[in-house]
Subunit: 313 residues, 2 copies
């Protein structure tokens, strides 16, 4: 029996720092309704969808805390869990996690159609800087506001109603790091879920990267890593001009050959849809990327024994 899963990406337009969380949640629920009406079984939202991308600002503690969730679902997020359960649809949701012990992570969860959380991931590849950069119009302070993810890259199985796919999650910048994908590929992942907020300009200054190039980078990384790990992937943006800062769009659904199956056309709220045949992963997993037959880990030790680049002598 074919294992078909109906996927949706729910690209979001910009949220504003002075916007209302209730209105953002309403927009998310409208996207969920639209995806469900189109037959989607799993809807992928962006990284940090409930607020503006606050790491662009150096913030006082009180405002910073207002962007974090002490419980998830909690008072300001429960409604989307309720609507998804009502529709029988699963979710990928990012959020800023504040643990009981006071740790902060850039987190995502996968929610099953029954409303239960079946997977949790904490972003490993935090970009940006810990200290604010003098004179920068926009900061990128993820290294200041979050700890590095401590859950590894944990694949998990989706429900039988989805065909029991092996799932993995990433958050934003993680999608550019082949190490992250390979850790899931080594767990035979069939569907990778990820959301992002990616600047439409060089966030560390400089003029050599514009919106078109940065959108190309985003799509290219997901296409190739999906191919090289023989997996489906859904990669979803928060897009548009947020707090005066541009965010790329380019949300995509990619097949295990690395081909674009669905792609957002706008920088606003927009649903993209695809019907994923999970067994299409088998060709790659059993032949070109039959890891057991072809990988040579004895030659890869530099990947774990070295952090930064060391030029030859």
């Amino acid at each position: 029996m074919p294992r078909i899963l109906h996927l949706a990406g729910a690209q979001m337009g910009a949220n504003q720092r002075d916007g209302s969380r209730a209105q953002i949640l309403e927009r998310m629920i409208a996207l969920l309704d639209q995806a469900a009406a189109a037959g989607a079984q799993l809807v992928v939202f962006p990284e940090l969808p409930f607020t503006t991308f606050f790491p662009r600002w150096l913030l006082e503690r009180q405002e910073l805390d207002s962007y974090f969730e002490r419980e998830f679902p909690g008072p300001q997020t429960q409604a989307i869990f309720d609507r998804a359960r009502e529709k029988g649809v699963g979710l990928y949701l990012g959020y800023a996690e504040l643990t009981e012990g006071g740790q902060r992570f850039n987190t995502s969860v996968t929610v099953a159609p029954d409303g239960s959380i079946i997977g949790k991931y904490r972003k490993v590849h935090l970009p940006g800087t810990e200290q604010p950069r003098d004179g920068a119009r926009f900061q990128q302070l993820e290294k200041r506001y979050f700890e590095y993810g401590d859950l590894g890259f944990p694949a998990f199985r989706g429900p039988a109603s989805w065909g029991g796919p092996i799932l993995g999650m990433l958050v934003c910048n993680d999608r550019r790091w082949p190490e992250a994908w390979r850790c899931y590929g080594l767990q035979a992942v069939e569907l990778m879920l990820m959301g992002y907020n990616s600047a439409a300009y060089d966030p560390l200054g400089g003029e050599s990267e514009d919106q078109a190039l940065r959108t190309f980078h985003s799509t290219l990384a997901v296409q190739a890593n999906a191919y090289m790990n023989a997996t489906w992937a859904v990669s979803v943006a928060k897009a548009g001009v947020e707090d005066g800062a541009g965010l790329i769009g380019g949300s995509v659904i990619i097949d295990p050959n690395g081909r674009i199956v669905a792609e957002a056309k706008t920088l606003g709220d927009e649903i993209i849809l695809a019907e994923a045949d999970l067994d299409a992963c088998r060709q790659g997993k059993e032949k070109m990327f039959n890891f057991a037959a072809h990988r040579r880990p004895d030659q890869y030790r530099r990947i774990v024994e070295q952090v930064g680049a060391i030029p030859p002598g």
Copy 2:
């Protein structure tokens, strides 16, 4: 002072099993002359350019040995070294290496403009099978005819006349393995050189991959791995119908943003050219892929501790 290196890829059309090695060498020298006349400083040839891609056949020892080089350069290859030195042009050359001790490798070297060999690589990711497959029209017996490369992924510096680039080499299937690229990225590589012979059909049987899809795979893998390691890349095919078996073309030169700068249009002998600004690698190496700032090797251990995929329990 800008570090500009003039690159050429020398895509080759098919060689035939019953063809003459002298004629193949003549074609290679003609391509070299053409690239040199266009100003190229470094010319990249395909994997195993001097012969047909013999691993498609189950061969008797005598014929097999005729495809291997006991010395390199040797009697049947010296002429291209001589012409390159005469023109002051460097080379990437693949060859089937038979060592004094009787070991066999699928090897490549980089030759400086003075004719000296400045880098050597032995293919790590051997595709195919060790045993012939019953009923297959074409075999893929690299695992039978070669040993796995034992030199790791050794980056090295090119000559000052090239801007002193940090160079790395791969052979064919290696280009699909992000681990291989990352091992060079961790040596701050600025230019990756690789040749290939890639079937235009699924070499392990099956109908789901055709020439267009397999060319797309080849280009995608090089584009994304160049981007993710902020390096230039030259990836060059032996193409066309060889011994009745189709080989993809699609030779490309890729910039450190993963963009295609030059691309072959034919399945025959064809030169592609690009002017590479080596300092264009700096944007990626210093920002997005500043490995020292952003990599998390403690999370990557699965890459070296596991060979094959292990699904979650």
